[in-house]
């Protein structure tokens, strides 16, 4: 729309090109392979930052739209666009991948590892940018393949089991969504006049009968609930996270899970507003159960990585709570929290990965007194952990606070229960920190190495992001809010839902 250069298409195609290049370069030139991966991922990261810079902050609609016909007989087009809801997820993807590629060493088969990572990046970008149901499904589903091979090829002991479970679980969810997508387009043909899978056309012109829209919403919701994951569909997540290589875990937690919550916003609320309002109580309840259950399960873990994995279940519960509270603040908070969780949990997984590299164990019981031998490492861990807990001044706070404040207006009792989750988060993380870092180091832990320069620089980027969004979230809010307000208005005008009219609360950062 604004630029003649198709930047969104480039964001998807560039990593694919990189992966193809890596595949054709011989294994002998390992340094060249690494250089290609680095250049392409940094290139995509740079473009996503440029996208952020040239994004019009007060425009609520889709920007940089690119649309080309693809499968004309089915009404499918290559339709991409970005708005305030997807913008920061795209940027997060763009930033996280180069960090993973530069910062994590897969130890073997670098070539295939890097090719899969770049393909994964293309798939994730595509999911966040697609404005066509068919196109979205393709990216949503194709992501499974690289992730499957990353977990299966570079993971830990039970990697094949975890990878297969991840693949089949997610594919089962998508199976329902595929039927739902087709049914949406077919049924909407009467209203629209022709067969189309275009999201915007469907959302603006189709009007489904009450029951129809509920069924369709459910079919989408199953796929997203598996991806998020929402209790009780979360059982694949601890396995996949624990067995995945560090890089895989960072991407999985950082961006892949967000495809589910993003899906709820983009394809749940936007496409089936009335049905989403109808399903609100169920999803709010499941979200709150997820928060409490995730926190309790995390407290009980003996494996540090599994603990972080369960903390994700809790954090994503907050995001789902915010989405289905359907107020401007709660949705803004949810979008922020998606990005913040990506940063802090991504960083936590990186740190846990570093611990494993040094000690070859993740059992909390075998770690002790690391603070004494590696104070900088401990301090880094502390900052990241506090951001994950949601301490004011760090990024986790702004999102969580907005979610709670927004949800309190429309879903009071759920919010009250959810708020205890914040305390539980402090409990399990601080307790874990205490066991791992405090005390006297025993023999095995006394040689725990300090952060290396490379690791330090890597973590500094994360800490920079944590500090910046924590102290100055305004630029982010400015860009998210118009789109969120528009979405809430869309829900209100397409259903009998009334957004709460409590006095506007002063926004954080103003």
């Amino acid at each position: 729309m604004h630029a003649s250069f198709p930047i969104l298409s480039a964001l998807i195609l560039l990593p694919i090109l990189g992966a193809v290049l890596i595949t054709v370069v011989s294994n002998k030139y390992l340094e060249l392979v690494k250089l290609i991966a680095m250049l392409f991922s940094i290139g995509v990261g740079g473009m996503s930052v440029w996208l952020l810079a040239s994004f019009h902050s007060h425009d609520a609609g889709f920007q940089f739209v690119s649309q080309h016909e693809w499968v004309t007989s089915w009404g499918i087009s290559w339709h991409l666009g970005v708005d305030g809801i997807s913008l920061f997820l795209v940027v997060l993807t763009g930033i996280l991948f180069p960090l993973v590629i530069l910062g994590v060493d897969p130890h073997h088969d670098h070539k295939r590892y890097l090719a899969w990572l770049l393909l994964l990046e293309a798939g994730v970008m595509g999911s966040f940018l697609s404005l066509d149901l068919f196109l979205f499904f393709i990216f949503f589903e194709i992501v499974l393949v690289p992730m499957y091979f990353l977990i299966g090829g570079w993971g830990y002991d039970k990697r094949v089991y975890a990878a297969t479970k991840f693949f089949l679980y997610t594919m089962l969810g998508s199976a329902f969504m595929l039927v739902g997508i087709i049914a949406t387009a077919v049924i909407a043909r009467h209203d629209v006049g022709y067969l189309t899978f275009d999201l915007v056309t469907l959302a603006e012109h189709a009007s489904f009968a009450t029951n129809t829209s509920r069924w369709l919403f459910v079919s989408f919701a199953i796929a997203f609930a598996v991806k998020v994951p929402i209790f009780p569909l979360h059982t694949w997540l601890p396995d996949a996270h624990t067995q995945a290589p560090t890089g895989g875990s960072v991407i999985l937690a950082g961006v892949l899970l967000k495809m589910g919550t993003y899906g709820f916003l983009r394809f749940g609320l936007y496409l089936f507003p009335a049905a989403a309002v109808w399903a609100k109580p169920v999803l709010l309840t499941l979200a709150v159960i997820g928060i409490i259950y995730g926190a309790i399960a995390a407290t009980m873990q003996v494996d540090l990585k599994r603990l972080v994995a369960y903390s994700s279940v809790a954090h994503l519960g907050f995001i789902v709570l915010g989405i289905f509270a359907i107020t401007s603040q709660s949705l803004t908070g949810s979008v922020m929290q998606m990005v913040n969780h990506g940063i802090s949990t991504g960083a936590l997984f990186l740190l846990v990965g570093m611990i494993y590299e040094r000690r070859h164990t993740r059992q909390i019981a075998e770690l002790r007194g690391i603070q004494a031998v590696a104070p900088i490492f401990a301090a880094t861990f502390m900052i990241v952990m506090l951001s994950s807990i949601g301490v004011p001044g760090l990024n986790g706070f702004a999102g969580e606070f907005l979610v709670l404040i927004g949800s309190f207006q429309s879903a009071r009792w759920w919010t009250i229960v959810a708020a205890t989750g914040v305390i539980l988060a402090a409990l399990y993380l601080l307790w874990a920190y205490q066991r791992v870092f405090h005390g006297e180091p025993d023999e095995a832990n006394s040689s725990f190495a300090e952060l290396t320069l490379r690791e330090g620089v890597l973590m500094l980027v994360f800490i920079g992001l944590i500090g910046f969004t924590g102290l100055y979230p305004k630029p982010m809010l400015e860009r998210i809010e118009p789109s969120v307000d528009k979405l809430v208005a869309h829900v209100v005008s397409h259903s009998d839902y009334k957004a709460p009219t409590t006095p506007q609360i002063t926004k954080v950062g103003e």
Partner: protein, 497 residues
């Protein structure tokens, strides 16, 4: 004398028969010249088979072009229907013959047993298949079915050094005989109740334009028996039991041909009988197809999970594919559905996938044609990365992963089902596809994530390379640009009655 004067034979438009005649000529030529001239150049037989099949493809392509503005017609006293449906099915079968002949040449060269017989049988099997897809008379259909089946029995048993091959041929022969009997009895009963063996004639009789004897029970039993007979050929559950044994035992190129051309022919016949002949009885047969489809997708995908032989795995996966095609057939039974087009689309895509997959199995199966256990595929990515990658693409396509032709096939069929309001069927088929995906993942795990058990050099015949490259290219091209294929299959229609 009187008879000879009054009985007028139908006029014979030979042009319409060019595909069948060229295959027939090829088969005779191979057998005659093959036995007269002993020393043929290497792979010479296969070139003859490929050449005559190419003529058939070209003839069909020209027919397709002519049929663009009309819907086709019936010839030979309504015994043969040449319409867009039969032309697309014929082209698919001919492609399968060409790829099958390439695989056969690789197989025979490796076995050191090059000879004309198997190619001749391949061509006669193809003749049977071509007759089946355009038969507009149940008797002609039966002739085609038997020509196809008899050739396949022999082909399946053709490896005399391998016991499983003999067993496979015999098993297929006995069970196939049963199914033919069912089919024939069904034809008799339908003839008894409608007074016609012509498929379009049956349709007219049932729609009431011609007075019929009211023999409802006889007709229903006949329909049932016909469906048993054809259900056996498409390996729909519960008539699928022969499939894994026969697929495992038969020589790999024969399995590939059986799984592709055999299935296309049987499905084409099934669709023509149900949708042209028995259209008026759609409420009777549609629930049966519905149940068969659900049973077949689940049987195929669940039983595949416990297999350890890749050929058996692919056999079960072919059963679950048959279930998906039945979903399309069920959708075709609803008013306004495009199930015919999407089922044909599925068949065309599936033919290429199955050919490519068995080509890789052939490359791996060693000189005994028997090393096809899952453990033989362990660590293939380390031994032959390109081969492993090709197999992965084909397997993921069969699983229905996007950007492959397999996804296009599944998407189209599910779309037909949804348009026909068969939501339960659509969801059941997708859930079964997820269960089925486990099978493909297991093979992928073996290839990519496990260590090789043998370091033996895998030598791949150039003919096999051609088949694999073509199959993978078609899989990806159709996956990225589905419009290319959809444009053709969308127009598939039966000849007007």
């Amino acid at each position: 004398m009187v008879l000879a004067e009054t009985l007028q034979g139908p006029s014979i438009p030979w042009v319409e028969l060019i595909p069948i005649l060229s295959l027939l000529g090829g088969a005779c030529f191979l057998l005659l010249i093959g036995s007269l001239v002993p020393n043929w150049p290497r792979r010479g037989y296969s070139w003859v088979a490929i050449a005559v099949t190419s003529i058939a493809v070209i003839a069909n392509a020209i027919k397709w072009n002519n049929l663009y503005y009309n819907k086709g017609a019936t010839f030979f006293a309504d015994a043969i229907a040449i319409d867009r449906f039969s032309v697309v099915a014929s082209i698919t079968i001919c492609l399968s013959v060409i790829l099958g002949a390439l695989l056969m040449s690789a197989y025979l060269v490796r076995m050191n047993a090059d000879g004309p017989e198997l190619y001749a049988l391949l061509l006669t099997a193809a003749i049977g298949a071509l007759v089946m897809v355009s038969a507009n008379d149940l008797i002609v259909l039966f002739l085609g079915l038997e020509t196809l089946s008899l050739s396949l029995y022999l082909l399946a048993a053709s490896n005399r050094d391998r016991e499983q091959s003999q067993e496979s041929g015999l098993k297929y022969f006995i069970l196939g005989g049963f199914s033919s009997a069912f089919f024939l009895y069904g034809v008799a009963l339908i003839y008894g109740s409608t007074g016609s063996t012509k498929i379009s004639g049956i349709g007219q009789a049932l729609s009431g334009s011609i007075s019929i004897i009211h023999a409802d029970a006889m007709l229903l039993v006949g329909i049932g028996m016909l469906m048993v007979g054809l259900g056996f050929k498409v390996s729909a559950a519960p008539f699928h039991v022969w499939t894994p044994d026969v697929y495992e035992g038969a020589p790999t190129p024969v399995t590939a041909f059986m799984a592709s051309a055999g299935k296309v022919a049987a499905f084409a016949a099934l669709m023509r009988v149900l949708l042209v002949g028995l259209e008026q009885r759609v409420d009777d047969w549609r629930p049966v197809v519905w149940a068969l489809a659900i049973l077949t997708v689940f049987t195929g995908s669940i039983l595949a999970v416990v297999q350890t032989n890749v050929k058996r795995m692919l056999a079960y996966s072919s059963i679950s594919h048959a279930g998906f095609i039945l979903v399309g057939v069920e959708a075709a039974g609803h008013v306004g559905g495009d199930g015919i087009a999407t089922a044909m689309n599925y068949l065309a895509i599936y033919t290429v996938l199955v050919m490519g997959s068995f080509a890789i199995v052939l490359a791996m199966s060693g000189t005994t044609d028997g090393e096809t256990n899952l453990s033989d595929f362990k660590g293939l990515a380390k031994r032959r990365p390109a081969l492993a990658l090709a197999f992965t693409v084909l397997l993921f396509a069969q699983a229905g992963v996007p950007l492959t032709s397999g996804f296009v096939a599944k998407f189209a069929v599910i779309k037909s089902a949804v348009e026909a309001n068969s939501y339960v069927l659509a969801i059941a088929a997708m859930v079964a596809a997820v269960i089925g995906a486990y099978l493909y993942l297991r093979i992928a795990v073996s290839m990519w994530l496990e260590e090789p058990t043998s370091e033996a050099e895998i030598s791949i015949d150039p003919a096999v390379v051609i088949v694999i490259v073509l199959a993978v290219a078609a899989t990806l091209i159709v996956g990225f640009f589905p419009e290319l294929l959809l444009h053709a299959t969308r127009l598939v229609r039966f000849a007007p009655r």
